[in-house]
Structures are given as structure tokens and as C-alpha cells.
Amino acid sequence: VALQQAARLIARRGLIVLISDLLMDVPEVERAMRTLRAMGHDVTVLHILDPAERDLPAAGEALFVDPESNLSVPASVADVRAAYQNTVVEVIDEWRAVLGAAGVSYEVVSTDAPFGVPLRRAFAVRQLLP
């Protein structure tokens, strides 16, 4: 909805940068991206990842609750950390593939690393686009 609102606000073709944790459904985002691209916008997605989201917090045995959706998952961090880390990699690869197919540049931004580096990389790639 936010992306559609942004598309309506920009009358001319322009550059839209989406900064998000991308904790949302892929098809919806993909559809919105394709719409923006169809309107002639250049779109860049900066995927914000916290280290705790990337590696799981050191919480031992705990009930992990998403405060937005109230989704709760019990887990032992030691037991699932490896699988979780693999899943995160899979998710990033999925985003990269889906957004790439839609002509959207995609960059992962870790909150524990300088923000400028991935940003410059994203826009450097942008310069190379036709």
C-alpha cells in the first residue's frame, strides 16, 4: 500500500528507494515492484537486517514472538541456529532473485556495518543499468 501510494505521488519517472526489513510476503512486494517498474520508476530495495535477525539472539530455550503478527515460535537457539541461518540465506537469495527478475536493484544492509558502503554499491549498480 505504501509503495502504491508512493507511485501515485510521483508523476514523472523517478527513483524510488525502499528501505525495509522485508518481513512481508514476497508475492505482494513483487507485485508492487513490478507495478513501479511498469510506471518507469527506478527502484532500489535496501533490505535492513539486524545481526540478531541474521544469527538468532542468544536466548537459550525461549518463545520467539513477532509483536506485529503475534506469531510465536518456541525454539532452542542452540538447536536451530544453524538451520535458521541457512533459512535467512535462502530468504535473501529469494529476494535477490525475485527483485532482480523485476528489474529492481537489491542490497542487504546490516545494522552493525557502516550504512554508506551498501548504499554506494546499490547506486553504483544503478549507474550501470540501461
Binding site: 536466548a59 518463545l63 532452542s76 536451530v80 544453524a82 541457512n86 537469495d93
Partner: protein, 602 residues
């Protein structure tokens, strides 16, 4: 596998902890806000099978680690794979006490023990060292052939033996063997009265066997005693019979039956007698034989002689004279000169009951008379003041005037009664000395009811006949040498001299003690009454009473024979168990840290 501390196996219950963790992990109370929960859910869904296997693997590793630790804590022992046993020092302690002669299933229990010992010997190799220790503490070593001969010759003891001595000697010989594998193999009937007190043996390892099965009902003579020990010539025989029902008994004296009767269970019977025999004699109280025949007869000894002739000197005083008259009227003594009852200043011959002179002026004459008769006592300073006497069944008697009794260097005597810390009545070989005159001015003894019985006992038990007495002892014990005897006469009439101590013979019976070839006393050898009580400890009950470093209970005879060598050669499994626990915990750590094999993403 056996365990030295099997109670620690209960630690294995701690496996409930990882099991509960595994089962309860879906009921976690800690809540973490985590926006990326959807990734977590996806990870669990995608890798649920792998995670489940991993969790199960972790649970099993943890359970096995706990079991390995509990196993190690229980101090397991097991034989290593392989044949034979390491060179072992084995001391076979056999309880051949009197109770082992009980007949079970038609054979003496000792015969079963001997068979078991032969089985142990058949397992011995030339590298082993073996000893046999009987319950009296005797140790026999040597070749297997010699030990077999020892077993063939072995008989049940006449007494309880000394289990503590036997065990400590067994521990000492295996310790001194120099071999690393040491074992005590103990076979016993587990008799409760025998295994009451066993001192700890910290470094002993014991393989124990106690036969199971019902205990024979035993009848026994637990007391046989001549009262008094000298009859002049009348007396009585007291006997106590252990039985669950009425039983007939027979009393013999000098081989002749002089009384028969029936006694109620555990009744003490008393039979009065005035036999014609004279001198030191042996007697028995007997029952019909039962499964334990060794305690169906119990010996006693008695001296029998005519009533002694007693003379009373005027200086002894009227109270003694009147008391002698009473004894004479009851025929316990007669007129005569066998024993003199005299004031010390009048004594000229022994045996004599000597009383202090009534007038201190005669004290010098009294001491000279004592010196002439080589009596090693003298009258000393006169003491006044009321004091209570103790001993010689005279408790409660007072003395208000007395002389110190001063022992000479050679004085060897019994103190029969004391006043305060001082000797008041002393006795030697053929004399009794009272330190007070027998008059109410000096003591209330002559007006006490106990006076005449005491006087009768002194005259007819202590001063009559030879200066000996009846000693009682258990077989195999050692007594101080009695100063009134120099030899011992065996049951079959053989005489041997007594050394520095009197070694009590092993066989039950009456042995006469002699002085210069004449019978002067008797030694009655009989088992302790407790040996007739056949109640047993089970092996499980007896094992903790043996305070040894390690004990294994052999459930049957063959296991006992087998374990006698193999137990000592067995190895501890503590180290392997702890290593296994460590490896399991390391594996658990690796499984936790290891990334599970997941499909690689592009």
C-alpha cells in the same frame, strides 16, 4: 559386572532431566520479541526432520552420559575378556566353629565347607598362593596337595573360635604375599552369636558365602556346674537346658549316672547329691543327641570329701565357736584338726582361718606365728573408725577396729574383702586371714546373717583339701598359669607340665590340674553357650558387619569357589565409564555446535 557401591546406580534416575527437557521444551516460559519469527518458523518447518533427529541424538547422548557417570559412581568391577585369572593370594577362612558340625541333609555342614574349599584349590594355579585359616586363627599354607590334606584332617572346633583373629590373620598373610591380587574367601554359617563384633579391616577384600536354608532346631546343655565346687560331701549340680520342648537329661559323675530327669524348655535344674566318691571328679550333663551333637553334653568338675574336722581356739572368740557349732550341727563340719580356727597369736599349723588378736598386746606374737608358718602377711597399725567392707559376699558388713594387713615381698594372695582401699580379708594357699577380731567391738560380721554361710564357705570350699579350684574356659583360650598347679592331666590320663601360661585344650571336657603329681584342681573346657544358638545372619546381613574395603557375596557354593580367585583379578570399570561419559559429553558439544547438513542455497 558387580558393584562396590550399587546404591549409586540410583544416580541413573537423573536421566529424567534430559528426558524432561526434551519433552517439556515446547512449554517454555521465556518470551523474546523477535520480528523475524517467521524465519524461525520456516527454518523449523523446512528442517524439522533434521532438527528432530538432532534433538533425539542430543537426548540420547545426554542420557548415556548420565548413565555412564552413575555407572562409574557405583564402582563397577568386571573381568576383562580373557581366560584364567591373574596370580592371586587367597586366604580361605573357614568357620569350623562348633556350630559347623550341625548335620544338614544328612551331612555335617563342615563337610560342605570342605568340599567348597577343595573346589577353590582346584582353581588354583602354580602362580597363586593359598592359605587356609581356621576360625581359631590358625594359618596353614603350602602346596595345594598339603592344603588338601589339611582339609581332609580338619574337624569342627569345640568352641566359637575367634572370627576377628582369623580374618585379621588372613588379611595379614595375603598382604605379605607381595601379589597385587589379594583375596579372603570366607565361608561361614553366619551364626549371629559368633559375628557380633568384628574389627574393621581396611585393606581386605572378602568373598563371602553363607549357606541358605532352614536352621536346625537345637537342644543343648548351656550350663553344668557343681555348687559349691567342693562337696563335703553334699552338694548340687546345676544345669540349664536349651530346648523348645521338654527334654530328658542325664547327669554322670566319674562315669556313673547318678541322676535322670525331664526338664521344661530353658529350665535350670538343680540336683542334690551326696555321692560316695572322693577327690577331684569329672561329671557331665547330657541330652539325647540331635543334629548338633557337640553341645548335647557339657562337663563339670567337683571335689568331694568328708566334712572337715575343725578346731576352734579359745582366742578366736565365742562368736566363731558358736558359728562352728551351728555348722557342726548341720554336718557341714565335724570335730577334728583338719582346719584350725584361731587367733593369729595362737596359730601353729595350716590350714587355718586366722583372725586378728582381740588384744593389741598379742600383736607381736601374732606376727611371729605368721612368720613361723611362712605366711607372707603381717599385722600392722591398728585402725579405728567405722568403715564398710566390700567383697566375699560381705557387702554391708562394717568394721570399727582392724589392723593393716602388710604384704611381705613374697605375698601372693587373693584379697577376698576390702575396707576402703585396704585389704581386710586375704587368702593364700591354705590360710584365710581376717584383719579384725571376730567380736562386735571390732566388726558387725558375727551378728550378720551372712556370717555362718560365709564361715561355712571358707571352711568347706577354700580351706578343705588341696589348695586348688575349678577353672572354666573356652577351648583354645590361654589362661594365666594358676600358682597352685604345675601340670595338667588330659582326659585320657596323660600328664603334661604347665608353662608360663595355661593353654586351654581344644577338646571339650574336664582336665585335672596337678601339683607334684596330685590332683589339686580342675579345668573345665566347654563351648560358650551362645554357640548353641544357631540363628544365622544371611549373607546380605553379615556383609555390612564385616568392615572391609570390598566384599562380594557369593550366592552359591560354585560362585564362591569361582570368585575366590577371579574377584581379586577383576578390574575396575570406573575409568572406562568416566572416559565414555567424557566422550559422550564431547559428542554432545560437537552435535550442538555442528551445522546440520542442510541443502545449500545458490
Amino acid at each position: 559386572v558387580s558393584f562396590l557401591a550399587p546404591l549409586y546406580l540410583a544416580l541413573g534416575a537423573a536421566i529424567a532431566v534430559p528426558l524432561l527437557i526434551h519433552l517439556m521444551r515446547r512449554r517454555i516460559g521465556v518470551r523474546v520479541d523477535f520480528p523475524a519469527a517467521r524465519y524461525l518458523l520456516r527454518a523449523e518447518k523446512e528442517h524439522s526432520r533434521t532438527l528432530r533427529i538432532k534433538n533425539l541424538l542430543l537426548m540420547f547422548l545426554r542420557v548415556l552420559a548420565i548413565l555412564a557417570i552413575a555407572f562409574a559412581a557405583a564402582r563397577p568391577l568386571a573381568e576383562w575378556v580373557g581366560a584364567g585369572h591373574a596370580p592371586t593370594a587367597v586366604a580361605i577362612v573357614v568357620d569350623n566353629s562348633l556350630s559347623s558340625s550341625v548335620v544338614v541333609n544328612g551331612h555335617p555342614l563342615l563337610a560342605e565347607f570342605k568340599s567348597m574349599m577343595r573346589d577353590v584349590l582346584s582353581s588354583a594355579t602354580s602362580a597363586d598362593r593359598v592359605w587356609i585359616v581356621t576360625i581359631d586363627g590358625n594359618v596353614r599354607g603350602g602346596s595345594v596337595a598339603l592344603l588338601r590334606d589339611e582339609i581332609d584332617r580338619m574337624e569342627a572346633e569345640s568352641g566359637a573360635g575367634d572370627p576377628s583373629l582369623a580374618l585379621s590373620r588372613a588379611a595379614a598373610v595375603v598382604r605379605a604375599s607381595g601379589l597385587a591380587a589379594r583375596q579372603i574367601a570366607l565361608v561361614t554359617d553366619g551364626q549371629r552369636t559368633e559375628w557380633q563384633r568384628v574389627p574393621p579391616l581396611a585393606d581386605a577384600q572378602v568373598v563371602l558365602h553363607v549357606p541358605s536354608g532352614p536352621v536346625a532346631v537345637n537342644r543343648a546343655v548351656t550350663l553344668a556346674e557343681a555348687r559349691p565346687s567342693r562337696w563335703t560331701p553334699r552338694g548340687e549340680v546345676a544345669a540349664r537346658l536349651q530346648s523348645t520342648d521338654s527334654t530328658t537329661y542325664r547327669i554322670t559323675l566319674n562315669g556313673r549316672t547318678f541322676a535322670r530327669g525331664t526338664a521344661a524348655p530353658n529350665e535350670e535344674v538343680t540336683v542334690h547329691a551326696s555321692p560316695p566318691e572322693r577327690g577331684w571328679l569329672a561329671g557331665t550333663v547330657e541330652l539325647e543327641p540331635d543334629e548338633l551333637a557337640a553341645d548335647n553334653s557339657r562337663p563339670f568338675a567337683v571335689w568331694i570329701g568328708p566334712a572337715p574336722g575343725v578346731s576352734v581356739s579359745p582366742g578366736a572368740g565365742p562368736f566363731l565357736k558358736n558359728a562352728i557349732d551351728v555348722l557342726r550341727s548341720s554336718s557341714r563340719v565335724v570335730d577334728g584338726h583338719d582346719i584350725a580356727v584361731v587367733s593369729a597369736d595362737e596359730v601353729t599349723a595350716l590350714p587355718a582361718l586366722i583372725v586378728a588378736p582381740g588384744d593389741p598386746i598379742h600383736l607381736g606374737a601374732a606376727n611371729r606365728a605368721l612368720e613361723r608358718l611362712s605366711i607372707p602377711w603381717r599385722f600392722g597399725a591398728r585402725r579405728s573408725g567405722e568403715a564398710t567392707a566390700h567383697g566375699a559376699e560381705l557387702d554391708g558388713v562394717n568394721s570399727t577396729a582392724r589392723y593393716d594387713l602388710v604384704a611381705q615381698t613374697s605375698a601372693v594372695a587373693d584379697t577376698l574383702a576390702t575396707v576402703g582401699q585396704d585389704a581386710w580379708i586375704v587368702a593364700g594357699g591354705r590360710y584365710v586371714i581376717v584383719a579384725s577380731p571376730i567380736s562386735p567391738d571390732a566388726t558387725n560380721l558375727p551378728v550378720r546373717a551372712s556370717f555362718v554361710p560365709w564361715l561355712g564357705s571358707v571352711l568347706t570350699e577354700r580351706l578343705v583339701g588341696e589348695p586348688g579350684q575349678v577353672l572354666s574356659a573356652e577351648p583354645g583360650k590361654r589362661l594365666p598359669r594358676p600358682r597352685w598347679a604345675d601340670g595338667i592331666e588330659t582326659v585320657d590320663g596323660q600328664r603334661t607340665s604347665i608353662g608360663d601360661a595355661l593353654d586351654v585344650p581344644q577338646r571339650t571336657g574336664t582336665y585335672f590340674l596337678t601339683l607334684n603329681g596330685r590332683r589339686v584342681g580342675a579345668l573345665v573346657v566347654a563351648p560358650p553357650p551362645g554357640e548353641s544358638v544357631l540363628d544365622r545372619y544371611s549373607a546380605r546381613d553379615l556383609a555390612p558387619r564385616l568392615q572391609v574395603s570390598r566384599i562380594l557375596v557369593a550366592p552359591d557354593a560354585s560362585a564362591w569357589a569361582s570368585l575366590s580367585f577371579r574377584a581379586a583379578a577383576r578390574r575396575s570399570l570406573i575409568e572406562p565409564a568416566l572416559i565414555a561419559a567424557l566422550l559422550l559429553l564431547l559428542s554432545e558439544t560437537l552435535v550442538i555446535r555442528r551445522r546440520v547438513a542442510l541443502p545449500q542455497t545458490a
